[in-house]
Symmetry: C2
Subunit: 287 residues, 2 copies
């Protein structure tokens, strides 16, 4: 194994892989094949290669307990949605999935009807009521489903990006009873830019792309016996629905946020009038 050349190097590196684990062997083999093919096709200068090393290093360093720059990188390169598509080929008629994104974080267990907007946005944001059911593919209610929701505030920031928000603001975990019903109060989501002050911002700039995501609220729904559903609800009419920076929009996940002016309804649900009333039934695939 001396005098390796452009011609024989890839094969010799591949020959050295001797994993005891079949999937491990496959992952390492394909990683090296594609990585070497990329380098051979691109023919980076040494300076370009060090730029890549530095880019990856800075991306890692940008990560902390509140920020995940590598997920964001995967998102803006369309890789997260590709992984999502590959893992959700189910033919069951269920709610579609989309990216998790980098902003999921621990949240409090809440009671149905609670308001997840607990900061200044509880008054500055447009009030919204989210309600519906968690159903199986046949339309039967699922009890004990855990619904983890999170969204940005009316200025487009998640709590973990914004010291002025209370901790765990605009997040909450709700559990269904036998009816499968859920309902909670919040505000209408706003479009926002993904963070551009890190290495991912450089990629977007170099690509001539805007960083905006259309307004949405995240759902992560788990229930015993069902596939975990990670998805969004998008707001119909948003100007970025056709150019989402992370390629996450699906037609079936775009909902109207109609204004409800009925004062009795506002009183019934405990929201200010008028409010956006979003009604959606999530269907989870069977395992």
């Amino acid at each position: 194994m001396r005098n390796l050349t452009e011609e024989n190097l890839t094969d010799i590196v591949l020959e050295r892989i001797n994993s005891t684990d079949k999937r491990g062997q496959e992952v390492l083999t394909k990683l090296i094949k594609y990585l070497h093919a990329f380098v051979k096709d691109l023919e980076p200068t040494e300076e370009e290669w060090f730029t890549a090393i530095d880019f990856l290093t800075r991306t890692g360093k940008k990560c902390d307990d509140k920020r995940q720059e590598f997920i964001l990188l995967s998102d803006v390169l369309g890789v997260s949605m590709l992984v999502d598509a590959i893992n959700h080929r189910s033919k069951q008629e269920v709610t579609e999935t989309t990216v998790t994104g980098p902003f999921h974080a621990p949240a409090m267990e809440m009671k149905m009807g609670d308001n997840i907007a607990r900061g200044k946005e509880a008054t500055s944001g447009e009030p919204a009521l989210f309600r519906g059911k968690i159903l199986d593919p046949d339309g039967k209610p699922i009890a004990n489903a855990k619904i983890d929701v999170w969204q940005s505030n009316d200025e487009g920031f998640y709590d973990i990006q914004d010291d002025t928000q209370p901790e765990m603001n605009l997040r909450g975990i709700f559990t269904t009873d036998a009816s499968g019903d859920f309902w909670f109060r919040s505000i209408k989501p706003s479009p926002y830019p993904v963070p551009t002050d890190g290495p991912v911002g450089e990629v977007l700039k170099a690509s001539g792309r805007h960083p905006m995501r259309p307004a949405h609220i995240h759902f992560w729904i788990e229930a015993e016996g069902y596939q975990t559903l990670i998805t969004h609800i998008f707001v119909e009419g948003d100007e970025y629905l056709d150019s989402d920076a992370v390629f996450g929009v699906k037609e079936s996940l775009i909902l109207d946020f109609p204004l409800n002016n009925n004062k009795e309804d506002a009183e019934k649900w405990g929201v200010k009038s008028p409010f956006s009333e979003v009604i959606y039934d999530f269907k989870l695939a069977k395992k």
Copy 2:
């Protein structure tokens, strides 16, 4: 740009690249093509994808001013040697190149003949004299060539890995005069493992590979009008010459380290007798 699928996602991500820079456009296009092709071929589970995200994050976090885990990763995957091969296709008869590795660091300017071993290894290591010339492809001496050398100690650790060594130990920068001659004192290099306490160690372990590098000393030689030469001298007879963890060995860079028992020579060069005397002329390619 809604309802993206496994089939159309890659093309749509590619269509969004609109760089003002031609090379930038090429880099981004090829990155996305190969990355998506890798993911489509591998079909990672979502758990595997998060494992990859976590691996990259930890690799970035392991880097600091004394450690570069991404260079090490590139090295053990054979990518650094591939980049090296692509960038040194010169047909000029000059010294061959090899990996820079992750252990280059600032060094002191020294006078010809100085001993770069300034710690306990100055006595525990086997004394070695390195001498020769810096030449152009026609064999003519190059004046004002800067020779940056670095090596590990007799236990296989570089100064930046080992708090017990003096700062900038076993490193030095020498400048040739009109004769092109260089000579300096040090110790005979030892084989050593690349660091395995970080994410790269996990890759080696998963690959069933040992982490050892054959004994070597690094050279980074720069001179006005010539291509920078980054290379090693390897020690003939080392047991890892045929299984270098970073694929860096080239036959032409392996030298005998013959013992010189001549007391007068030892006195002349200011080394303890007996000493390894390594004589090598480096030839730099013209720009």
